[in-house]
Symmetry: none
Subunit: 521 residues, 2 copies
């Protein structure tokens, strides 16, 4: 089968996601990362937009290595000559080798939105494509609403594509702009339209039915060789086709050429990079690249996995740069505990009394509401404490946390803490944005002269789950804290009817983990 | 086309999601919500597990209205007689009309995991299904790893299904347990296997390729009439097929019968309910039901939308109980507010300054992280306050909350509160199980002599969600409180960087709502 061209529009369609707002530098960083991965075309934005013009300037001075940088815009306006149209002029000014323009395919849009004749729309397409092609550009033509247009008026929809082809477009892309086309209907339309066209054909799918990946893969299996999408499926409404999933399927499942095989192991990292720069949380259940994508929880599954990983894994996670995780929970038996201990270079025997003891402790704690799935560090601390592998770094004598709402409406939070470190009593206090933040600040303040390495860690995530919600404000809560330093990230847990005490437990585990990790004495 | 049977396994497969940990009450609440929606089968868990046995007991005393409650388990063990097998016995003890058992299809599993002969596996299937059928159960048989098994040994895979059919299974379900089957391959296998079987056939798809919905829909379009999935696509690794999306496609796009048409508008609410009880954030980009699913950002799109909504919406969002949001337009969300106000018998004019004011306030609050979906009472209070429909029942002067951890490890929580009621200052204090409980107790103590009706309400639910988790312990939190008295239940919300302040807001709204409801002057 022919090699598939991948076309990324994270920086244009992806930027439409609620909550995403890229700076010029963000766009440049994402583009370079996708260039490294081997994406063939990277659409950097609309040069009609001043901010996006800056992005194109950056790449003039330091071009991408292999990807074709693409400037995007619309066909000329109905009341403008093509050489005077501001959108077309801005595309030329971006000075890229490749340009993409979109035009109308759906008669409903042409009549109800543009208010022009179907013929006038064809002239706009022809003028715009031929003008850009004559300027030496590789022109990709996006048929907006191709499938809805084809359902409404099949002859006219195909005619718009034929006009673009005749005017010199090198690729014609069928867009499911509203994302409402079911795969079987999409296939029927491709089978009707594709044979009438000669140039390379592309697919651009939106995910309003949760079918964007399926629609893209089916299109490829039916002769389409150019695939447009975004990383992590970003995009307005329900998003676009997720290129990270599409690459995983094409390369790891169907053995269809797209990016180089040696780059496939960078897929997970690239996806996480894009979510970091986009400041959106990575979906744990994202296919191939999510943190839960190769996780195993139930004891039956874990036992089978240990006999043969193929039993519950559809590919080797290393192939896409991800890794297997065995979750420790009361359901999962002794093996995960032993394997987990091995990660920390602790040898537990399946039948040793210590393993029994840890398992018992774990079951008791889970019964009380502790959960170690997202709290690896607390789990390690628990094992090491039980095995008496370290002496305590400090002893708490007491703390007091005071939250006040003053008559003027102002709120203050203060924590006072008394601890003993290496025989010395520290008694100190700190303010904070809330009671837990104040306690966190006070603990660090008390410890910092003894353990300067703690200054290099910070808390990156804080979650509260109310257990047994029916008890109302007297319910037990579970607090999960994620901490990080320059090289690692770790999770800790605490449980109590008192949210301050639960947070305290997780804060202490986090600090102790950091000190153990750094081999502080 | 035949009516499609929907089978929900949120409470069993969905419970395998990293981070989900359902209480017995959570399971019961979700089951009743799905029962109302019209899901045909609801799998409540493994009765082999003590916690799940409690769930089945609850439904003995108060059965579901229309759905078939399903007990789940495995075929008998190879070394057990079927009538002595503990898993089979526990299924019977659950005392449901419908049971589902799964058995092995894939020769790799039978050899490498079970270590038994292919024939022995067939006997296990036959014994288990026929024993349960003889006890009068409707038996659904899940062919675990059906597609992987069929790829490896097609004759044997089909044979396991034929044995189950011969033994009296009423439905045979093809499971893509590892979720690694591409749709085109899945279809080929269905076309080969389905004609050999006579009973109702089902599909159970996992989402490791992002194709679970596509695989389910294609299966239906190719003759499968029983569809298994979970709400919001919960499930281990990358999750299961999302029933909320499948219902949307079947009913709103393909006009295939599954739930009643009049129930379709409850789809969004049901999905949000499940995510609330699961304490997982609703994915904004979830098809049909996500908060971004019908959001419009760009000016061009919004202009077109106002001319004709079909231009950028694949269905009318109201069909599934969702609504359009226009992000840059002041028109966005006005209708829902007017409709909501009507529920409280408040007439808002679309163009009145008061509607403008409420809209503005609401947008500000939502921007800050407030959410009124599960906090109707706070929403009503907000409208009535803005419309000056009541005078305040009390004024807070100040509060102070103190949490102490003493040298002996004991923890105490105390709240001191100063409020003014009907011109009289009340200054009092109370202890509690945690800081919020103490504050709750102190507020009631201060108010009880003025408003005795407050003694008749209590808090039934307390939820904390961390917004913007990246800010660590200084993050904003949203507190949702559910309160109830003898006749009603109502939700209130508070948001702050300080969890005590956020809880205070929700506590005050709850008390004020109760007083308004009881027409206290």
């Amino acid at each position: 089968m022919q090699k598939i061209e991948l076309y990324d529009t994270t920086l244009r369609d992806g930027a439409q996601t609620e909550g995403i707002s890229y700076s010029v530098q963000d766009k440049a960083r994402i583009a370079r990362k996708l260039d490294e991965l081997g994406i063939h075309f990277i659409e950097a934005g609309w040069p009609a937009n001043p901010k996006d013009r800056e992005v194109f300037k950056i790449f003039k001075s330091r071009p991408l290595k292999q990807a074709g940088l693409v400037a995007f815009g619309a066909t000329r306006r109905s009341d403008k000559k093509v050489n005077l149209d501001s959108s077309i002029r801005s595309i030329l000014a971006a000075d890229t080798r490749v340009v993409t323009i979109f035009g109308k395919t759906w008669d409903l849009h042409i009549r109800d939105v543009l208010g022009i004749s179907l013929d006038e729309n064809l002239r706009m397409i022809e003028d715009s494509v031929s003008y850009l092609a004559a300027k030496g550009k590789t022109v990709i033509y996006d048929c907006e609403h191709f499938f809805d247009g084809h359902k409404s008026n099949p002859e006219y929809a195909v005619k718009t594509a034929l006009v673009a082809q005749g005017a010199g477009a090198s690729r014609i892309v069928f867009c499911d702009t509203n994302g409402g086309t079911v795969t079987s209907a999409l296939l029927r339309i491709i089978h009707q339209a594709a044979p009438k066209l000669k140039v390379t054909l592309g697919i651009h799918a939106h995910n309003d039915l949760g079918l964007a990946v399926a629609n893209s893969i089916f299109a490829v299996e039916n002769g389409i060789t150019h695939v447009q999408g975004t990383f992590n499926g970003y995009g307005e409404r329900c998003g676009n086709a997720d290129l990270s999933t599409i690459i995983g399927i094409l390369k790891a499942k169907l053995n269809i050429d797209c990016i180089a095989y040696r780059k496939l192991k960078d897929l997970t990292k690239a996806s996480h990079f894009v979510s970091e720069v986009s400041n959106l949380r990575q979906q744990p259940n994202q296919p191939f690249v999510g943190s839960s994508a190769f996780v195993h929880k139930g004891g039956v599954h874990i036992d089978a996995m240990l006999k043969n990983p193929k039993t519950y894994e559809h590919i080797d996670p290393a192939l896409v740069g991800n890794h297997r995780r065995l979750l420790v929970s009361e359901l999962s038996g002794k093996m995960p505990i032993i394997l987990k201990a091995k990660e920390f270079e602790l040898d537990l025997e399946k039948k040793s009394p210590q393993t029994e003891k840890i398992l018992k402790l774990l079951q008791d704690l889970e019964h009380k509401g502790y959960q170690f799935e997202a709290a690896d560090a607390s789990f390690e601390i628990l094992i090491k404490r039980t095995m008496k592998q370290y002496k305590k770094f400090f002893d708490l004598e007491s703390f007091r946390v005071v939250v006040e709402k003053k008559p003027d409406g102002r709120i203050t939070s203060e924590a006072i803490i008394k601890i003993k470190v290496k025989g010395i009593q520290e008694h100190t206090a700190a303010d904070g944005d809330g009671p837990v933040n104040a306690l966190d600040n006070a603990l660090r303040k008390a410890l910092k002269s003894f353990y300067p390495t703690l200054a290099k860690m910070h808390l990156s995530d804080f979650k509260v789950r109310v257990l047994d919600e029916k008890a109302g404000t007297a319910s037990k809560v579970r607090v999960l804290i994620q901490s990080q330093d320059e090289s690692d990230s770790w999770g800790t847990v605490g449980v109590s009817e008192n949210i301050i005490e639960a947070s305290w437990q997780a804060l202490v585990d986090s600090a102790e983990y950091k000190l153990l990790k750094d081999k502080v004495k």
